[in-house]
Point group: C2
Chain length 343, copies 2
């Protein structure tokens, strides 16, 4: 419950901020790489060197570390690794916005203490919101409709919602250096997957445009769905019950279930990604584990140990101990976001 | 329970047949297609015409039925659609063989009435076997080890086990015309997936060699797995509990969960595939639903309405009513299996 409340403190800010001040242009697709420099937004340094060295070693024929093409699997966490996750997970901002709209026609939802607290801006009321209230809100906004209806609602929200700090659509806040990394890997026949605690039906709406990753290469948390024939049309109805939570030890489980191969490379930004990175490094032959460290309060956010979002503690220690790559957003990234006018 | 017993009647034959009489050569990979005829093992006729017409319509630029490459998803059932499933599902033959070996060191398993009945060949004992006994046998042979250990056992079994009727390794009994269809679709930028009631961890061992389908494009039934660090090595342990049964209404659910797009084309052979075919046809734009009809007792097997394996009844009626393609193995297929010396 304590953690839920802390996350809500972030949400209070996100949900109450002005929602239509966007000026910067979103262009997640414009990340074609230069032939001479595959990673132009990465500053020279050990992180960049480690990536290029690994990709060259594993893809150059005759190299002792050569990895056959079908085994070139790279997995990426999403929130905090491929796009920002502050001041609250973007999917939670969606759930809040959506539930405000639904509350007008749904008396039970209108009574949810979280909505009331957000409406009043009362910090004490917010502190009394329970995890149950939060789960109810997400379940309510993510179920009872067909998959296509849900994804239409998400697509619309992604068009109109604006991030409270930067005033741009949420998909504008993807990381330019990671887009270059994804492209660089694919140019070397790596298959790129998202493995995220976020909802798979939510992510699949934007990941293809944003990252060039098709829906079938997204592993995420998911609810139950039921097959029905509604007015002659076969559809899938999203249920309130959860089927799978793709976080922490769930991540390697999700990888085995959806991908069926141990990745060669994996990237995350928090302790929630540690099991995925451990599982990746546990295979034979060359393996790469990378962490994105949020240490840039000016251009993005700075948080790690003890953070209620993206806490980075035991994972950081293990990364240092084992010599994994820990990317400093401040030092290693020349630019954070793709759009002009953004840092 | 009745159905379990009927399936077991088939198994009794499978499990008691000689197991090392193979002579024919397995060569699932040798199905490169001729440039002039993409489907050489398909006889001229309406099924072949329908396939070629559909692929040309959906992949020729400027065609009113053109489907963009990312949406070209084709899903295939496995048992009875891509390989044979008689006299019992091949994975069940594996479970029986495996449990016989395990029974020597596992007193509880040795007491399983199914093993006793198979050992004695007693038909009456076989009739008294319950579905619970069957489920216990499968759970026992598919859990309690790492994913890699399980897949090593399956790989070894696929090498040494021989099919009771044809005396060849089970992967030799894949359908040559379907291999050509898979190749033909991929040559036109269709992405081919398996969506099967079989176990995903079992199928992933052989589908890449057999069909050219990578593990990450296989949707199947699956048990729970748990992440563990065993002697310093991060592994996934297969559990007895099921997570997902990818059959009947489960198939569209599995498609939405793993692929996240409604297929453009789907193939099956039984009522267990009907929901997948309905879901496929329920999308907008051009769609193709195909059934393989087992009507060739001489070269393969003949079974449909009322069969305890691959029952084809309401699905057949709906296919006829809606004008879906129903392939006659007898009339439409010039050859059944790839190997020399096989029909």
């Amino acid at each position: 419950m304590k953690k839920a409340v802390l996350i809500l403190a972030g949400l209070a800010f996100a949900a109450c901020a002005p929602t239509d001040t966007g000026t910067a242009d979103t262009d997640g697709a414009s990340y074609a790489q230069s032939a001479s420099d595959p990673l132009p937004s990465w500053n020279t340094g050990p992180s960049r060197d480690a990536i290029i060295d690994f990709v060259e070693r594993t893809t150059t024929p005759g190299s002792p570390d050569f990895v056959p093409v079908p085994e070139r699997i790279a997995t990426f966490d999403n929130d905090g690794t491929l796009w920002s996750e502050q001041p609250a997970y973007f999917q939670l901002a969606f759930a809040i916005d959506r539930s405000k709209m639904l509350a007008a026609h749904n008396p039970e939802l209108a009574k949810n203490p979280l909505l009331a607290a957000l409406a009043s801006g009362d910090k004490e009321a917010l502190a009394n919101v329970t995890e149950h209230d939060l789960v109810q809100l997400v379940a309510e906004t993510h179920s009872g409709m067909t998959l296509e209806q849900f994804q239409g609602i998400v697509a619309n929200w992604l068009d109109v919602a604006r991030h409270p700090r930067f005033g741009v659509p949420y998909p504008a806040l993807i990381y330019q250096p990671m887009l270059e990394l994804l492209d660089y890997l694919r140019a070397h026949d790596y298959k790129t997957f998202i493995v995220s605690g976020g909802g798979v039906d939510f992510m699949r709406v934007f990941v293809e445009d944003a990252y060039g990753i098709p829906p079938e290469q997204v592993v995420g948390s998911m609810g139950e769905t039921e097959f029905e024939i509604r007015e002659g049309v076969p559809v899938l109805i999203k249920q309130r019950a959860m089927n799978f939570v793709d976080d922490k030890e769930g991540k390697p489980v999700g990888i085995a279930r959806f991908i069926g191969r141990r990745p060669v490379m994996a990237w995350g930004n928090s302790d929630g990604d540690l099991a995925m990175l451990q599982y990746t490094m546990g295979g034979d032959g060359p393996r790469f584990a990378g962490y994105v460290h949020h240490d840039d309060a000016d251009r993005e956010w700075a948080y790690d140990r003890g953070s209620h979002i993206g806490g980075f503690d035991v994972g950081w220690d293990e990364a240092v101990e084992k010599g994994w790559t820990v990317v400093s957003m401040k030092d290693d990234w020349e630019k954070i976001y793709p759009g002009d006018g953004l840092p």
